[in-house]
């Protein structure tokens, strides 16, 4: 079943374009130390140089090579994105399955989820990270808290649907234990919607990390990140357009890749909601 869906996904041209974009960014991130120079090397003698053979994307206001900053920024974004997504999806998945199956868990957790879902996430992340203080760990914590409800709600819906299926009723009436029903029937069925949510959560994280570091919240200013580079562009755009263009392009390509891949994943794994 999983293999069949995978081959369906491979035939989806949009999804593959998305996967290719994402793959490219991952490759840049992994090979950043080889492809770029030292992101912490400041060279005051060559600030704001236009793109050239020695500096493909030019240099920034501190004389750092912008290409280096962009590939190392990919490392920052994707690493935070991957960890946050993994944490949020895992927690949301477990909570969602439990909510779909146990009514009392549902009553408590869903009130919290409703409360967090309808609040603009970026405002909450800014406040949480601001309060917790700078650092990668607090950023991951803040983003995870905001993303969990999104995953939980969708997984819960899928789990509720499975619970109502005849197969669950028959296995329960044959005397299966609750844990068996959960592990054997509910959890695997809820997995497909979770995969779709993972792509969505990842794209939200990349955008949020960029927005936060653009505002100067969360990441220390010397950590290479696309948002931090772009915030410098506000000042220097007129004399150095490249600072404003390349980091932004990196964000758009990454998120576009995730959105396209996510659309494809939804078509394959969650065809009911895709048709809507």
């Amino acid at each position: 079943m999983l293999r069949q869906r995978f081959s369906e996904l491979v035939r989806d041209r949009t999804a593959m374009a998305g996967a290719a974009l994402l793959g490219l960014m991952v490759l840049l991130a992994v090979l950043a130390p080889v492809l770029g120079g030292d992101p912490y090397r400041v060279d005051p003698t060559s600030t704001l140089r236009p793109p050239s053979a020695s500096h493909w994307f030019g240099t920034d206001e501190k004389g750092r090579d912008l290409w280096t900053m962009v590939v190392h920024g990919a490392r920052t974004s994707l690493a935070i994105g991957a960890v946050t997504t993994a944490l949020a999806v895992l927690t949301g998945y477990v909570l969602g399955v439990l909510c779909g199956y146990f009514r009392w868990v549902d009553a408590v957790v869903m009130r919290v989820v409703d409360g967090l879902m309808s609040f603009p996430s970026i405002v909450l992340v800014i406040s949480l990270v601001g309060v917790l203080g700078d650092g990668v760990a607090t950023m991951v914590t803040g983003l995870t808290v905001v993303l969990i409800p999104m995953v939980t709600r969708v997984v819960r819906g899928a789990a509720l649907a499975v619970k109502a299926m005849p197969m669950v009723e028959s296995t329960t009436s044959l005397g299966s234990r609750t844990s068996w029903v959960l592990l054997r029937y509910v959890a695997p069925e809820a997995l497909s919607v979770t995969i779709v949510q993972a792509a969505l959560a990842f794209s939200v994280t990349v955008l949020s990390v960029a927005a936060l570091s653009f505002l100067g919240i969360g990441l220390p200013p010397d950590v290479p990140s696309w948002g931090t580079s772009l915030s410098a562009a506000q000042q220097y755009f007129y004399s150095a357009w490249w600072i404003g263009v390349f980091p932004g392009l990196a964000i758009v390509l990454t998120v576009l890749g995730l959105v396209l891949l996510g659309d494809g994943l939804r078509d394959v794994f969650d065809p009911r909601s895709a048709r809507k």
Binding site: V112, D114, G115, V123, A211, A233, G248, I251, L258, K276
Partner: protein
């Protein structure tokens, strides 16, 4: 109806309560001493203790929670730790600006998104449809602050059509007011238009296959009439929800946009408060945004029954 109203308000309570409680808990669990951070690096231990008792941080966690709850219920957020101004006044003043920006951005989104969505949906698989669908994907991937930076660079710095930053109150000069808010509203609204486009296109595609459309066609009505009187009307009702949600996410987005254009709105207030750890102000901002959200959701639900007579409460 009244009964329904109360039930809805009750269901929306978590939207206000959960972010507030979360913030309270995070604040108290945060590593490091907030009192020391607020008092500054050169503060003596007496000064830190003074700040701590002023914040009520010297009581036990439960006591703190109860005092805090009592204040929130009475809508008393105290005053800013830095300017000694009442939080309610600060929030009201800045919120007015944010609401204006949000309304303008919403106007941009609503004028562009649904119209293109209907145009694309009725010409499915055509060139226009494919171009717009791709454009909306890019629009969703584009961070609004990058669009803002690009718009400032081209329209503000190079062509000098719009001012790059600042805010003029409407009451002072309506023309300058619009002139200053044009770029922020466009950079916020254009991207939300992409979301509205997606939903309205899907709505049109969905209603094109409804039985009443087939009936209308078989009655021999011209296609234009079918679209205008049947497809469009059926697609518009669910859009109300989406527009409501959009208004909400625009308020969130405004936080970032305001800081780029130096607009003295809620976003700027929140951001400064976060950077200075001005807890009362942070709480006030979050509370206000949550309440607006709740009311917005309620209005949308009520609008629903007005637009679609089949829905009754």
């Amino acid at each position: 109806m009244t009964n329904y109203l109360f039930k809805r308000l009750g269901a929306l309570l978590p939207t206000v309560a959960v972010p507030m409680v979360l913030l309270f808990v995070m604040l108290r669990l945060a590593p490091g001493d907030p009192a020391a951070a607020i008092a500054g690096d050169s503060a003596t231990s007496e000064e830190i203790a003074e700040v701590r008792s002023r914040l009520g941080l010297d009581a036990s966690l439960w006591q703190q929670f109860l005092t805090w709850l009592g204040r929130v219920v009475r809508l008393d957020f105290g005053s800013s730790l830095f300017s000694d101004r009442a939080v309610s006044g600060l929030v009201a003043e800045h919120a007015l600006v944010t609401v204006q920006l949000t309304v303008l951005a919403l106007a941009v989104a609503v004028l562009i998104g649904p119209a293109l969505g209907i145009a694309a949906g009725t010409r499915r698989h055509g060139l226009l449809d494919r171009v717009l669908v791709f454009g909306s994907s890019v629009g969703i991937a584009l961070p609004s602050f990058w669009l803002a930076v690009l718009l400032i660079a081209v329209l503000g710095v190079v062509w000098r059509v719009f001012p790059v930053a600042g805010y003029v109150p409407f009451t002072e000069d309506p023309v300058l007011f619009l002139h200053h808010l044009a770029l922020p509203a466009i950079s916020l609204g254009l991207l939300e238009a992409a979301t509205l486009f997606r939903y309205s296109r899907a709505g049109v595609l969905d209603s094109l296959h409804q039985p009443f459309v087939t009936t209308a066609r078989s009655m021999g009505l011209p296609e234009r009439t079918v679209i205008r009187k049947y497809v469009f009307r059926a697609a518009v009702v669910p859009m109300v929800t989406v527009v409501g949600l959009t208004a909400g996410s625009l308020m969130g987005g405004a936080v970032v946009t305001e800081s780029i254009f130096s607009i003295p709105g809620l976003g700027q207030l929140l951001l400064t408060a976060v950077q200075r750890r001005d807890y009362p102000v942070i709480e006030g901002c979050i509370f206000f945004i949550a309440v607006v959200y709740v009311l917005l959701n309620l209005v949308i639900d009520l609008l629903y029954s007005l637009l679609d007579p089949r829905i009754r409460y």
